[in-house]
Amino acid sequence: MTREEPAFKIKTGNLSVLQLHILTTDMVQLKQELAQRLSQTPDFFASTPIVLELSAIAESDAVLDIAELVSFMLKQGMCAAGVVGGSVGQREDAIQAGLGLFPDVVARSPLRGATEEAFSVTGIHAAVVPVQPDLPGLDVVSASADKELVAPQIKPVPRPTMVIDKPVRTGQRIYAEGANLVVLAIVNAGAELIADGDIHVYAPMRGKAIAGAQGNEAACIFVHGMEAELLSIAGCFKVFEDGIPENVRAKPARVHLEGSRLVIQPLNY
């Protein structure tokens, strides 16, 4: 070889990956539900690399036959590439099965409990982190490798937070594209707030709030007076046919995603 250029380079790449959140240790149930879901959209995965998210079952420390699961997934067109989260034993099993380990960067609340569903794909985009304007600090589920080897890439400057200081009234829609949204005045029923990042409302919030509109599951909604018609984060939404729960009604509240569950917590201080 007479080439002067090196045969390879190692670089950091911020890639978006699908995560399969595993919420049960019952492999029979998991496979059954996976097969059922995939039968509805057979070509949805098409050999896309998928990261197994094990944090929900880490505490159980159950021994999973990961190798068996990987080969089952492959038959379904899902190409397992690695794991994130999980107990020490589960992570060792993953290495044995030829999977990579992703650093456990996804901050999860210890409150998180197992949900009824075996895994969480709510609609197509729930667990997808699509290619979106990079928001430093927000893209916590991006999988990046070998950070030390190369100087970090220059990240694009995030868009400034959009601040609205006038009432948002019926029929009005505000979209903070690739940014967070802060509203300092009342948001009335029939109004719509949409942000790719977080939404903060420092007044009564009676309309719709759609945070993480491009799929950012780490997006949050903070509201000074919770009276919303609809709340949504990364495609998971909630309406309040029977009214807002008593403990947060017209009170300060925080809304975030735990798995596929939208959690509304009162802000007590």
Binding site: K166, P167, V168, R169, T170, G171, Q172, A185, I186, N188, A189, G190, A191, R206
Partner: protein, 269 residues
């Protein structure tokens, strides 16, 4: 400097035309040169309520089309020396009202009048839009019920986003809330929203409360604006509204239930 005031609501039948007639009469009774314009092309009513329907020869569309001069179309009010009416056309459709034509008329009226009151049609179509576009101030007429409040909220949103002042980035349209057909008895029994409830949603300054009264219907049918009625709550309430609009500090009346004879006798509240 002449002021353009739009009387608007979104919802129909809440008392826009009744208010336009009484409010413009009240301004004129205080010595202000006032003109009231009916923007409800196709469904003209203002001339009936002002009792000048038999004197309508030309209308606003004739003026816009340059068929007659403004002077020829203006009708002098029978009750007030300082008040003129510019009627709507009953035979043309709403598209005949165009922004350029309306602006030309308003500019001409501004030369000889102190106040120009625009009676908006219901809805949010072009007629209502044209009526509010040039406004300096807005009287938002609302009934104490949720759908009316919701529609007023919508109108306020349009005023703050699409009026000439908003589009050109001038000082925003000054908004006033006028609650009409208010029945304190039904408010206390929970059948109607209270003034406090309405303000909590709309959050604009309250200009006045007009009580529900049989006399309004009688006044309309006899072609006399309600403000001219003798010994009537409605007339007094409208006079208060005009007084407050002119900057007087008057207490809110007619928002509490009238004490019955026995209650007064026994010294209840």
């Amino acid at each position: 400097m002449a002021k353009v005031i739009v009387v608007t609501s979104g919802k129909g039948g809440v008392g826009k035309t009744t208010t336009s007639a009484s409010f413009s009469s009240g301004l004129a009774m205080r010595g202000n040169k006032t003109v009231v314009i009916d923007f409800d092309v196709g469904l003209r009513n203002l001339d009936l309520i002002m009792g000048c329907e038999r004197r309508v020869v030309y209308d606003i569309i004739n003026v816009i089309n340059g068929e007659v001069s403004l002077k020829q179309a203006l009708i002098k009010d029978k009750n007030c020396d300082n008040l003129y009416i510019l009627p709507a056309s009953q035979t043309r459709d709403k598209d005949a009202l165009n922004l350029e034509g309306v602006e030309r008329i308003l500019d001409e009226l501004k030369e000889s009048f102190d106040f120009i009151v625009c009676d908006s049609p219901a809805g949010i179509e072009s007629g209502a839009f044209t009526a509010m576009y040039f406004a300096d101030e807005a009287l938002v007429v609302t009934n104490p019920e949720v759908s009316s409040v919701r529609d007023s909220d919508r109108i306020l949103g349009i005023l703050s986003a699409k009026s000439k002042r908003a589009v050109e980035g001038l000082e925003p349209v000054k908004e006033h809330l006028l609650v009409t057909r208010y029945d304190p008895k039904r408010v206390n029994s929970g059948a109607m929203l209270s003034v406090v409830d309405i303000q909590e949603i709309l959050r604009i300054p309250l200009l006045g409360v007009i009580p529900e009264s049989e006399s309004v219907l009688q006044a309309s049918n006899s072609g006399t604006p309600a403000i001219h009625l003798e010994k009537s709550d409605v007339a007094e309430a409208y006079r208060d509204v005009v007084g407050r609009f002119m900057g007087e500090d008057l207490p809110m009346r007619f928002i509490n239930e009238k004490a019955g004879f026995f209650k007064r006798l026994l010294g209840g509240n």
